[in-house]
């Protein structure tokens, strides 16, 4: 009982003193960021998920830019918070970020709509929000993402032309329901319908943007499909080629992925038998572009609300060079610095 009583007194004391301590450190951080604000503001990143290679590289990339900006005296430390693909968790994280009064919140959102309320709160508090990769519908946010419908059109055209404008094609879905998958799928279908009447869709499988999942799905489709002349895939193209190889079938035109495994395979095939395709991806370095936009917003510059992001494209001509520099489980990607970002998206 006595111990219970003591702990009942001690725990609140410890709790209050911890609060006071964190308050102190927060206020000291506040003054330091106020100092930095004379040259540039504080920037934070709210990331919805860290559980795959793309996201891990994305955070590594943005930290590189932040280190460069800090060394040049353009910004203070970048604070990164990750939630576990949980909308509620991300909302409460952003709410507590708002209390720190950063100048810019970079946001990789877990939902296109559910974060709109908290984004509006941030905007009302005078904080600029840059949503990148995953789009949000809040009108006050800056949005940076590729135009996925256009991407679908362009990539389908490449594969369709390499197929000679006729034959059978299989479409590989990514994570179903995401705006990336919906947009790309719409682009593929529209392009086929309007320009390639002689190409027939003979299968649609779910690949989840994962090589192993895609491989097993394609293997299943191949167990009933006839001749396949082309496959539209995104990210998991290596899984597609492995499924054809496992079935001892010739490998059709597969739209590529910028992952090292696929690039290495493509470079070898290209050298050995002239295998020809193209590959493009929205690489994780989009976080760098978003970061430099954020730095410039913090410095009072203004940008268009819709920032269309260019994917990183690899062709037969460049694959040998690029694949040599890309590790198996890494993505070939571009890098962004302030100059290249301002060239791509000129400030108003």
């Amino acid at each position: 009982m006595k111990i219970g009583k003591i702990s009942r007194v001690l725990v609140p004391i410890a709790f209050v003193s911890a609060l006071a301590l964190s308050g102190c450190s927060a206020s000291s951080a506040g003054t330091s960021s106020a100092d930095a604000a004379t040259s540039a503001g504080s920037i934070v990143l709210s990331n919805s998920f860290i559980g795959n290679a793309w996201r891990q590289t994305m955070v590594d990339d943005v930290n590189k830019s932040a280190a460069a900006a800090k060394a040049a005296g353009q910004a203070s430390d970048l604070k990164v918070v990750n939630s576990n693909n949980d909308v509620a968790e991300q909302i409460s994280q952003i709410q507590s970020l708002i209390l720190d009064k950063p100048k810019v919140i970079l946001l990789l959102a877990a939902s296109p709509t559910a974060l709109n309320g908290v984004i509006q709160t941030a905007c009302d508090a005078g904080i600029k929000v840059v949503a990148f990769d995953a789009s949000v519908t809040a009108p006050c946010a800056y949005k940076m993402a590729p135009d996925w419908v256009k991407f679908g059109h362009e990539t389908m055209k490449v594969v369709a032309d390499k197929m000679g404008g006729k034959g059978n094609v299989v479409l590989v879905h990514g994570v179903v329901g995401t705006d990336v998958d919906l947009g790309m799928y719409q682009g593929w279908n529209e392009e086929l319908k309007s320009n390639y009447p002689n190409i027939k869709i003979v299968g649609e499988v779910n690949g989840n943007w994962d090589d192993a999942t895609t491989q097993s799905a394609i293997s299943g489709a191949l167990s009933t499909a006839g001749k396949v002349d082309g496959v539209m895939a995104y990210v998991s193209s290596y899984g597609v080629t492995q499924a054809f190889a496992a079935a001892n079938l010739p490998i059709p035109v597969v739209y590529g992925s910028n992952q090292g495994t696929f690039l290495k395979w493509w470079a070898e095939q290209n050298k050995a038998n002239g295998y020809s395709t193209e590959s493009a991806m929205e690489g994780p370095a989009i976080s760098q572009a978003a970061y430099w936009i954020g730095v410039n917003l913090a410095n009072g510059k203004e940008f268009d609300k819709n920032l269309v992001y260019p994917t990183f494209k690899i062709t037969d001509a460049t694959v040998a060079e690029v694949s040599a520099k890309t590790a198996n489980d890494a993505f070939a990607d571009q890098t962004w610095d302030e100059a290249s970002v301002l060239k791509q998206w000129p400030a108003k």
Partner: protein, 337 residues
């Protein structure tokens, strides 16, 4: 289907059942005796349906689906053993164990053939270890299996994230990759491995003292304790075996996909449970079916192939799979009466 050596009496402790009667009663009696018949019949129906619309011959179609099913079947045997110990036992850590083990296997192989024995040994050891931790949490700490295995799976997943972010993995060994594509007399090597593993598990379940104790524990934990069958040890062993079987599936998966990826195990959560349920193993425990798990895994793969071939929209696909599993569960519940 020769893998169920004693189809007439799957549960050695229940030999005093009434003789089959006519009508519905005799159907349920037959189902109780041979729980795999539903999955086999449904699989045959799907194959017959697919034959005219498929552009490949029937043997090709069947073999490539059996091949895809072999991974699920091997991991499914582990789920079957765990589920059969009763009291709501289930192994939700399987998908994460598989992903972790694919990483372990391919990292040790490092793109070469010289480390194959070491990679197999170490991978299975990791799998057994994850299973042992599951068993410890369930048996000693008395955490409900659903919570314990999910927590252990979460730990395994976190280890995967640390391991995967180190980068520079060379991929699986060429020899394992060749085995993944190889066949003996037209039968894929991995299918043969799955059948051999199934045979070993069948002998273990139906012909050994451990099998008797497993079924006894699953049918009635308290009676098993009173009868000196040591249900805790049995349950713990089942979890360890499940980890080992997940590791075995992982080694094959690594060869099949030529390397590790973070999503490699994901689909095994629902598919191992579904294969076990569709195969007629009772979720309440005490009635495993090895042949059923094989047939259940095949039925699941054929279902995906069917919906792919018919180009059913992606949402509807999951709906169909869910309905089939629910139906199987319903039939399973009828059987218990």
């Amino acid at each position: 289907m020769t893998l169920s050596p004693a189809p007439q009496s799957p549960s050695p402790l229940a030999d005093d059942r009434p003789e089959p009667r006519r009508g519905l009663r005799s159907v349920t009696q037959a189902l109780r005796a041979r729980p795999w018949t539903v999955a086999v019949a449904a699989s045959i129906l799907i194959v017959l349906f697919l034959l005219p619309i498929s552009e490949r011959n029937g043997l090709d179609l069947l073999l490539s689906n059996i091949y895809l099913a072999s991974f699920v079947a091997i991991a499914g045997f582990g789920q079957m053993l765990v589920v059969s110990t009763g009291r709501g036992a289930i192994d939700l850590s399987i998908p994460f164990t598989i992903t972790l083990c694919v990483y372990v296997a391919t990292i040790v192989q490092d793109g070469g053939d010289q480390n194959i024995p070491a990679s197999i040994g170490l991978t299975i050891l990791v799998g057994l270890l994850v299973g042992a931790v599951n068993g410890f949490a369930v048996v000693v700490l008395r955490v409900p299996a659903m919570v314990a295995t999910l927590a252990v799976g979460f730990i395994a997943q976190s280890i995967v994230q640390i391991v995967s972010s180190t980068g520079g993995h060379a991929g699986s060994s060429p020899a394992v990759a060749v085995a993944a594509r190889g066949d003996v007399l037209g039968i894929p090597i991995f299918v043969i491995i799955a059948v051999v593993v199934g045979a070993v598990i069948a002998v273990l379940v139906f012909r050994t003292g451990f099998g008797l104790r497993l079924v006894g524990t699953g049918q009635n934990d308290s009676s098993a304790l009173l009868a000196g069958l040591r249900p805790g040890a049995v349950r713990w062993t089942a979890f360890i075996l499940s980890g080992g079987l997940a590791a075995t599936a992982a080694i094959l998966l690594g060869g099949y996909s030529g390397g590790a990826s973070l999503g490699v195990g994901e689909s095994f959560l629902i598919s191992t449970i579904a294969a076990v349920v569709l195969g007629g193993t009772l979720m309440s425990g005490g009635s495993p079916s090895v042949a059923g798990t094989l047939a259940g895994a095949l039925l699941l793969t054929l279902l995906v192939t069917l919906t792919n071939t018919l180009q059913v929209s992606t949402g509807t696909r999951s709906l169909i799979e869910g309905l089939v599993i629910l139906t199987a569960l319903g039939i399973g519940a009828q059987k218990r009466r």
